[in-house]
Symmetry: C2
Subunit: 275 residues, 2 copies
């Protein structure tokens, strides 16, 4: 039997906090261990090998800290590393534990939202290049297709505190227009990066009202509740004290200060090192 | 006697290529070995410890590849790591080799440019927080002072290919205005990041004509020529075939493609790993 431990939530930096927030709301009694690899963020523009290596190091670290289940709350890492870790590494390093991503539940959800079957995706260059949403959506919803464009400036705009500035408008409009110009039948757009909810109001204003905008936090939380119903062994291995520990690979104080933007409340963090 | 080898040029990513270009022009017969730590870039928002650790790994790697001299062509790394490496590490790991940065030569140059003695600095958050320019300028030019503001969006704007876009204008004006509002006597502005020359025309248009703008490439190249005149042992240890080898810690093909923006010509690169 698995020792009890917190649910691990991994992200390249701060973005996963927008997912964590919804997970905490859905599972208020559960313990969480959040790990942000801020010292090496952002992942969105890095190669497959690099993202895979970094993500595997993070997953191992979370397993070493007793997590029975790890949520990769980063689209780039889910896109570039999850499948390899699930299929190649997990059977050897921890066959009884689980690693889940954010792409599959999102791909499931668009089935109910899109009538035209043409789904837009805005994400980091890494997520877009991976083609992971295309593959998952096509597998789950035959006849659907994904039209994707990268929005590489949105993460730095959010991380540097310019999400509410007028300067963000040009970059929001530029990426949205580039996507919509690709196909007039897009009726649903996936915000395929955990930073993007912080630009929600600007994105909503730039996208015609008739088009659905999909944020991932709620979807991933609902999907996890469902998963735990179906996997009682994993559910039983989650420790329940309602606590969250925040760890980062970079400066803890800076992390805690910036994390408040995502969480809307004060937290403390500690620095750890990955290798 | 030192074995002969190339001049090492280190940067967190692409920015150092704007310095390398001027070094190649000043020393056309010398060999160079460029190393960009793209897998962990950008350094500008990272903690002191992290930047120090990464920079020391890079310097060791360049020494292992026979560089008698390493130029840290990254302002953040020069600000946060150079002094520790020169004073604490170099005497143990390679007492006969040299590591030079970009801040000291820049600080020397402003002495001839500023009449008011009030020097503006635009740089990454890391360079600004380090206070390194303040210290160097005050030491070399008593009575001078540095007024600094961070321009954290300029690096992603350049790296993502938006340097010529209208979207860059708001972020250029925002940082310039924030700096100039600090002190009406600023008559010289240091562009304290190797990416910023790619935004030169926009910055020049946002800054009043009466104010000097200081780019680092020429300054660092002139300073190196002078240094080699005074250190003949280091000069003699530089191999001279006129070749440059480009290495990156991330994807080589992507590096080569993006490097052409900085160098204005096609190059090839290889991937190496730092630890």
């Amino acid at each position: 039997m698995l020792p009890r431990g917190p649910i691990g939530v991994f992200d390249s930096g701060f973005g996963g906090l927008s997912v964590l927030k919804e997970l905490q709301r859905a599972l208020p009694a559960a313990d969480f261990l959040y790990l942000g690899d801020n010292a090496r963020a952002p992942y969105g523009t890095r190669s497959f090998d690099t993202v895979y290596t970094y993500t595997l190091q993070a997953v191992r670290w979370l397993f070493d800290h007793d997590c029975p289940l790890v949520i990769i709350a980063c689209n780039t890492a889910s896109a570039k590393a999850l499948r390899s870790i699930q299929q190649r590494d997990l059977p050897h390093i921890a066959p009884e534990r689980r690693v889940l991503g954010v792409i599959r539940p999102t791909a499931e959800a668009v089935g109910q939202l899109s009538s035209s079957g043409v789904v837009g995706l805005l994400g980091t260059p890494g997520t877009v290049a991976s083609g992971s949403y295309d593959i998952e959506v096509a597998k789950l919803h035959p006849g659907f297709r994904v039209v994707a464009e990268a929005a590489p400036m949105w993460v730095p705009i959010v991380e540097q505190g310019f999400a509410a500035s007028d300067g963000a408008d040009w970059f929001v409009a530029e990426a949205v227009d580039r996507l919509l110009a690709r196909d007039p039948d897009i009726d649903t757009i996936i915000l395929g990066c955990t930073h993007y909810p912080l630009l929600y109001h600007k994105i909503r204003a730039a996208v015609p009202e008739s088009i659905n905008l999909v944020c991932q936090g709620h979807i991933v939380a609902a999907s996890l509740l469902d998963y735990l119903q179906r996997h009682r062994d994993i559910d039983a291995a989650i420790s329940r004290g309602g606590n969250t520990l925040y760890c980062t690979t970079d400066d803890a104080e800076a992390f805690a200060a910036r994390a408040s933007v995502f969480l809307d409340r004060h937290i403390e963090a500690r620095t750890i090192s990955l290798q």
